[in-house]
Symmetry: C2
Subunit: 410 residues, 2 copies
Amino acid sequence: MSLQQLEAGYAALRKRGLKLDLTRGKPSPQQLDLSNDLLSLPGAKDYLAENDVDIRNYGGLQGLSEARRLFSGLLDAPAEQIVVANNASLALMHDTLVFALIKGVCDGPEAWSRQGEISFLCPVPGYDRHFRICEDYGIRMVPVRLNDDGPDMDQVEALVDKDSSIKGIWCIPKYSNPTGAIYSDSVVERLVAMETAANDFRIFWDNAYVVHHLTEDRISIANILERSAAHGNPNRPLVFASTSKITLAGAGLSAVAASAANVKWLLERLTPRTIGPDKVNQLRHVRFLKNQQGIFELMEKHRQLLAPKFNAVLETFEAELANLPDVKWTTPKGGYFISLEVPQGCAKRVVTLAKDAGVVLTPAGATHPYGKDPEDRTIRIAPSFPVLAEVQEAAKAVAICVQLAAMERV
Amino acid sequence: MSLQQLEAGYAALRKRGLKLDLTRGKPSPQQLDLSNDLLSLPGAKDYLAENDVDIRNYGGLQGLSEARRLFSGLLDAPAEQIVVANNASLALMHDTLVFALIKGVCDGPEAWSRQGEISFLCPVPGYDRHFRICEDYGIRMVPVRLNDDGPDMDQVEALVDKDSSIKGIWCIPKYSNPTGAIYSDSVVERLVAMETAANDFRIFWDNAYVVHHLTEDRISIANILERSAAHGNPNRPLVFASTSKITLAGAGLSAVAASAANVKWLLERLTPRTIGPDKVNQLRHVRFLKNQQGIFELMEKHRQLLAPKFNAVLETFEAELANLPDVKWTTPKGGYFISLEVPQGCAKRVVTLAKDAGVVLTPAGATHPYGKDPEDRTIRIAPSFPVLAEVQEAAKAVAICVQLAAMERV
């Protein structure tokens, strides 16, 4: 198509006055409906958990036994090595990092904040909220390339080997946000085995999409806690997860699984902060989800709702963008995002064009540290929230914007 | 009685093999029963809050409007100046202090942690968990005397006037833990008007017992936010509260009320930490408590359960200890504690004697910074949790231990 034709198409698009939002990985109301039973659980007489723990009263810093068992199945870690907390795994990651900053980790020489400038490796494209925590606390972010099988380990190994200021790495190991990358066994092996100049190095393993499959292929990845222990680095990984995208996004449970020493450290650090998590919500979730099988069945229902939306985007991109040079996108097997790469220097322009046509996208650059995508190429597409028809419309609108922005550059 | 008689009495006590716990201010199961309706609320179809906010999804960092209105009545502050969070006001206090340490307060020159050693004033006797936060983060604690009408303001003013390392003070202004002290208007006035060498000074105003009356006298105290603003120090107070001892101790709501600038600052600080609090639990509480009147009616039921237990302790102490020199105790009009003062050097001994007789008390010294009561005199009595008959037994046992310890000293 000529620039003129594309401009005419875009003008027609603007006239339609769309109001669509593809910005964030929010479950749709239909997905949330799947967990409405939670809203009347556990029921007025159901307040005694295992070992006669009164869930209504104070205490139980590590979380209910039965809630820890639920995550034990999910994360393939012993219940003793799990802490179940309140509604946001982001808060657990934040607090863990803040504790490390102020007090140091369990096997560290001293507080990270007393070791001069510290750094984190940030596989890109990645999750803006991970990067935000680092930015907020003045932790230097070092981007490393994220491939389809995880971070570029040659890069990672070369960096951590000589730079003791590098204290950690952010990982979303399965169905990564936003590319859908799945960490291979070999990448996991190198992450846990590599020599790090910092002896208080931590892998923030945000297993946010552990059971969030989009295909019938329920992919499983290497058990990082076991592999890390096998290599003599048991304290390196901190595994985070939540039920935010299993049950209710704002009212789920979060958890962390780690070595016994890390768990002991975290509980010591949490002691001044709180007497315990909301155990009623923990028992509520145990009653509702029941067990691993219950989670799988629920996630299958999520898949039925989500997969058609992802397919709608992918089919539209295939139909409209397949022949455009320097344009590609990921085909995730799970998670909440598609990562769209447009010609260099075009991402911001696409987001602006889309916005002016009533389709709000995540700001260009959000997938990179400091919000700066040096090539201005990556756009995160989040098709979960709108209804299918709107997702289709939005995808078509985005395709028009991409075509126009690409043509403008020529 | 002679030492011999007291020892015989104590020996008889030990033989009874009691197993009683007066350590912590926990509501009893009967009190928790009052809020069992929460366990099936809000109900499967009730998930839209005001302005069509879907409580199940992400977002709403400041808390639901209707939940903020609930605390607005409770704390006598505008709903816009309130943040409603998850289940623990201790966590809110902890996080506020940590944010101030790492990033500084909204009107401060820089992070507290970059200003050398900092200090907090600690009215004593006070709350061990306040002190624990300071101890954990290396904040020097400066004890000041707590009178019946609040901290000794001559002491406080003299200290803050010349020492810019003093960044804050812990206050439990109403029915204080553990003495039941009630801050007078004059003390509040002096706290908000005083000159402080530190221009980033904060009052941590833990209004934990704001509606927790033990008598028909529903005492109200000065509105510190209004008074502080009137004196040109709007950002000085941070007012904390929770429903932990209104509804469910482990699964209530917490809130902070403060100046607009403080609230803006806190929301900015919370943004990297979480996408929002558990709004389902907030709506659950709004549905259950309804309004200020609903809270008052519920608190009256708590009073019916609590007051007899406090009376049992007070009557026992009056009968057994009234004539003992250097022994006195508080008669609180609200809250969760009685503070018992024994002869100098006897508190630890009383706690040990009681423990050996099967009555667990809060460790002597817990009411003082670093767990060190220089006079070894103060014992905190928490009569809320055991049933009335057990409270009576425990009080009698404590009285025997006090008598014996006092006699041993003679």
